[in-house]
Symmetry: C2
Subunit: 100 residues, 2 copies
């Protein structure tokens, strides 16, 4: 993954907020029946509502964050759940400490 793409993914207020929300899902989203935040994450619809942007925009933003390895997804039935990707964020710290 190109470093530039990671930083581009972070160059947007909403996408940064999404990462912040996903850091503490229980504080930022209503309870989900049959879907543990830590195991699968938060479903697209909830993130969309919270953001106030359109469904299509949020779907795209989530895929940008995923391409940058900052989040990961799990499909369960008709829902897609996204959660923070700890490894990707650690790699980002490393990039900053070694390349910049």
């Amino acid at each position: 993954m190109d470093h530039v793409e990671i930083f581009k993914a972070l160059s947007n207020k909403t996408r940064l907020q999404i990462l912040g929300w996903l850091k503490e899902p229980d504080l930022n989203f209503p309870e989900q029946p049959n879907a543990d935040f830590d195991t699968v994450g938060v479903c697209v619809g909830q993130i969309q509502i919270k953001s106030g942007l359109s469904q299509s925009t949020i779907s795209e933003y989530l895929s940008i964050l995923q391409r940058a390895d900052l989040i990961s997804s799990t499909r369960v039935g008709q829902w897609t759940y996204y959660k923070r990707n700890k490894e990707g964020l650690e790699k980002l710290s490393e990039i900053i400490n070694t390349a910049l």
Copy 2:
């Protein structure tokens, strides 16, 4: 400084390279008479030559990086020297560890 602006500053290959070069000036730039790398940094002209982009582009890129607190500048006579800003980069690490 807005977090988004910091990441935008980093969302460009050339600007990332500049930060990398400034991390080890002695490995990346020819010796400068009367200007210690650690004290003042590297002058715009050298960075421009190394980048291969136009003078105006590099001047703007440097000011974008400076606005994001990632580098700092010192004017000496007709030269402006830029160097890495350790504090800004540390703050960036902190942002990643606390906000994302």
